[in-house]
Symmetry: C2
Subunit: 121 residues, 2 copies
């Protein structure tokens, strides 16, 4: 068996369940990238999230497939091609992603002033 997530989702409380599905560093960004519903290739996702190492996207996409947020299609071509598409379940998380995006936009200035390079906190 390949890579195995040590801790699956948290079934103890509804809030922790939701958090456990998206709290990894890049998962919320991946959902945001896939929001259009069009398939994206791994290399394309990486181009949009250059700060994430390809291996991390690999691992996190695999978990998201396992959790049912995303589906993967492998095309039997050479050179290899695969695509990830957000599922209806994944789409149902988008309002939350949207709200977080909006909140971040609304409060970015506050935190830039507080923690930014010129701030002395």
């Amino acid at each position: 068996m390949a890579y195995e997530k040590k801790i699956p989702v948290d079934l103890d409380c509804p809030l922790r369940l939701t958090m456990s599905l998206i709290e990894s560093k890049w998962k919320s960004c991946i959902l945001d990238e896939l929001r259009s519903g069009n398939g994206m290739r791994p290399s394309e996702i990486h181009k949009q999230l250059p700060e994430a190492a390809p291996r991390v996207l690999d691992i996190q996409l695999k978990e998201m497939v396992e959790d049912g947020l995303v589906v993967k299609t492998i095309y039997p071509e050479l050179p290899p091609r695969s695509e990830y598409v957000i599922t209806d379940l994944g789409k149902s998380l988008l309002p939350i992603i949207d709200a977080m995006l909006k909140w971040g936009e609304d409060h970015m200035d506050l935190f830039t002033a507080k923690y930014g390079p010129k701030a002395e906190h």
Copy 2:
């Protein structure tokens, strides 16, 4: 200087900013506990979240104070007493917490069936 958070909030993208404020294991639960606006003592918070070690709540509450989501009042009494109250900034995150709570409730069954003790995944 006491405990120091290694990575402050993520100022690179609005989505990551919001996530970085709440993605630690217990922060969203703490915000949920403090939602009423009434002050809560550390021991009281711990009673509500028994799975979290008191030390973790300590550390995460300290970060939340630093980030401006919560204020702390220390009463000069013996035995010592302190209280945490959610700020307006913290309250502005509650709609997001609510949405995650609701999503978790709506989909708990799905994941219990998938990952629960009786599921063979």
